[in-house]
């Protein structure tokens, strides 16, 4: 322990700025949202608002253009599709790279991680280009087999598939990163021991490696889940929730109600619903993260 410049108050003085920043721009906005979800506030009228109780939630849940259940379904399909795809791809690549020599591994890793640093909205434009009916790679490749051009983003099911593929591209990198980190921490001895005992590679992965990285794997799953739930930029860039709300997730619904319709109260109530789901997942995340962080630092 080192005595600080201001004695026992030192740590708190150091924390004033960071905590103020976090309180004002992270915590306070959410608190305000909970309050506004029970008011009839609109974009032009944020002060002296009327209390309406749970009416906003009723309006959101019973809305018919689009139906809330439809929005939930789209959100669920998009999130689960992204989750499974990026987990499978990220973990598969991490396992494949794990068996490659270190020099080649870091070179390949660098290329695989490129999508991880790109702006989600640019990723959206990129994949909109890939699925462009006239000049996209998807139709060009299919055209080589004689398939006639497909209007990917104007049909519900192909649009959803396109969005999921694009978001897997955006999201597998973080899974690869997290799982690779965990694989590097698996003691080589237990892997060698399994090999000496005559276990096949597949068996070693299933019985030794995967169990060893289970907590980290869960962490990666939660990250992918929450980011899937909250994806906005990418969907906005590719379909804006269209055609006719067919790809509208809760994140886009929030934006549409608040900014386009100007109905702050209803937008806030969708946010509260999404926030509650995300927070439950976030708490699970922090519990696992804390356990893992102790091993790392």
């Amino acid at each position: 322990m080192v005595r600080g410049a201001f004695g026992r108050a030192t740590p708190w003085l150091l924390l004033v700025f960071p905590l103020l920043l976090l309180f004002l721009f992270l915590l306070l906005p959410y608190l305000l949202t909970f309050y506004y979800s029970t008011t009839g506030a609109t974009i032009g009228r944020l002060l002296n608002v009327k209390e309406v109780g749970l009416k906003n939630f009723q309006a959101v849940l019973s809305s018919d253009a689009p139906e809330f259940i439809g929005v939930l379904t789209v959100t669920a399909i998009f999130t689960v599709g992204t989750l499974l795809g990026s987990l499978a791809l990220g973990t598969g690549l991490a396992l494949a790279l794990h068996t490659v020599r270190a020099g080649i591994r870091s070179a390949l890793m660098a290329v695989y991680l490129i999508p991880w640093v790109i702006a989600a909205v640019v990723i959206g434009y990129t994949w909109r280009l890939m699925f462009d009916p006239a000049i996209g790679l998807a139709n060009t490749a299919l055209g080589a087999f004689g398939v006639s051009p497909i209007e990917w983003l104007t049909d519900k099911s192909t649009a959803m598939a396109a969005l999921v593929v694009a978001n897997i591209w955006a999201g597998y990198g973080i899974v690869l990163l997290v799982v690779s980190g965990a694989l590097a921490n698996v003691p080589p001895n237990i892997i060698l021991a399994a090999q000496v005992d005559g276990a096949s590679y597949a068996r070693t992965v299933r019985r030794v490696i995967l169990p060893a990285i289970r907590p980290t794997f869960l962490l990666a799953a939660l990250v992918a889940l929450v980011s899937g739930l909250n994806t906005f930029d990418l969907i906005y860039a590719m379909t804006r929730g269209g055609p006719l709300y067919q790809t509208e997730t809760m994140a886009l619904e929030m934006y549409r109600l608040t900014i386009l319709k100007g109905n702050i109260g209803q937008g806030a109530s969708v946010t509260v619903i999404l926030f509650t789901i995300s927070l439950a997942l976030a708490i699970a995340y922090v519990v696992i993260w804390r356990r893992e962080a102790r091993k790392w630092t």
């Binding site: 600080g4 708190w12 700025f17 791809l89 695989y112 790679l137 080589p188 929030m254 608040t258 790392w296």
Partner: protein, 283 residues
Amino acid sequence: MDLVRLSFLQRLVRAAFVALFLAFAVLPLLWVISIALRPGSQSLYPISIIPSSLTLDNITGVLFGPKGIGLEPFRNAAFYGLSSALITAVASTLGGYALARYNMKSGEALLIVVLALSFLPSASRIVPLFILLSASGLYGTSQGVILAYAAGSTALGIWLMAGTFRQIPVRLEQAARIDGAGPFLTMRKILLPLAVPGILVVATLSFIDGWNSFSLPLILIPKANAQPYTVALQRYIQEVGYGINWPLLAAGSLVALVPVLAVFAILQRRLVRVGGLGAAIKG
């Protein structure tokens, strides 16, 4: 010796898997580059990944041309990214040091709550921040967006910096103090130089977040001349019909990729090492 022995067939499968997804990772970007660097007249036909002739017309067009978005949106994004990085670095260093060197149970509990909040990606902050900034008069200012981004990166930054400071032996500090250095001199001469790698990573992650930001500026900055490139590029997409100006949109996207890829190339090793721990950074 290799960690695991693979049969020839397994090696083959591995090579095919790695190659297939290498193509998945880079083909979309190559397609963008290919559209961006070919003459506009060839953007519709003939379609091939290797353009028959190369040109920088689209790049100069998007930056300087009459239909371009100009340099300003890129300058704005750089300004948001750098400011956010600076604020995040300062706040994270202060907070990380306090957590690493002082035994504070309540402070840590508080930060666990904050970490949980920071894990919520920016989309669920759109509406809350819009409400907060409208109510406080920061709506439409760049400060609002910068502080929002800095706050988003700071919670994780504090944790990363706490880890960095914990790895610096406390004896170094004690030795400096015994030699008569005050707390501020010790901070400047001993601690900060050793913490630079950690600070760099925290600042970089924050910069990338700020440079890439879209939803918050879209909603919080209505003024066209203060918007970053992410928002400005939208003008090339007309929602009615298929009026997308692909050559300029691809060229603009390509320009936007240069800074992040450059930063990534320089700091890749360090980023990969902490990235696993800082999984929440990109929501």
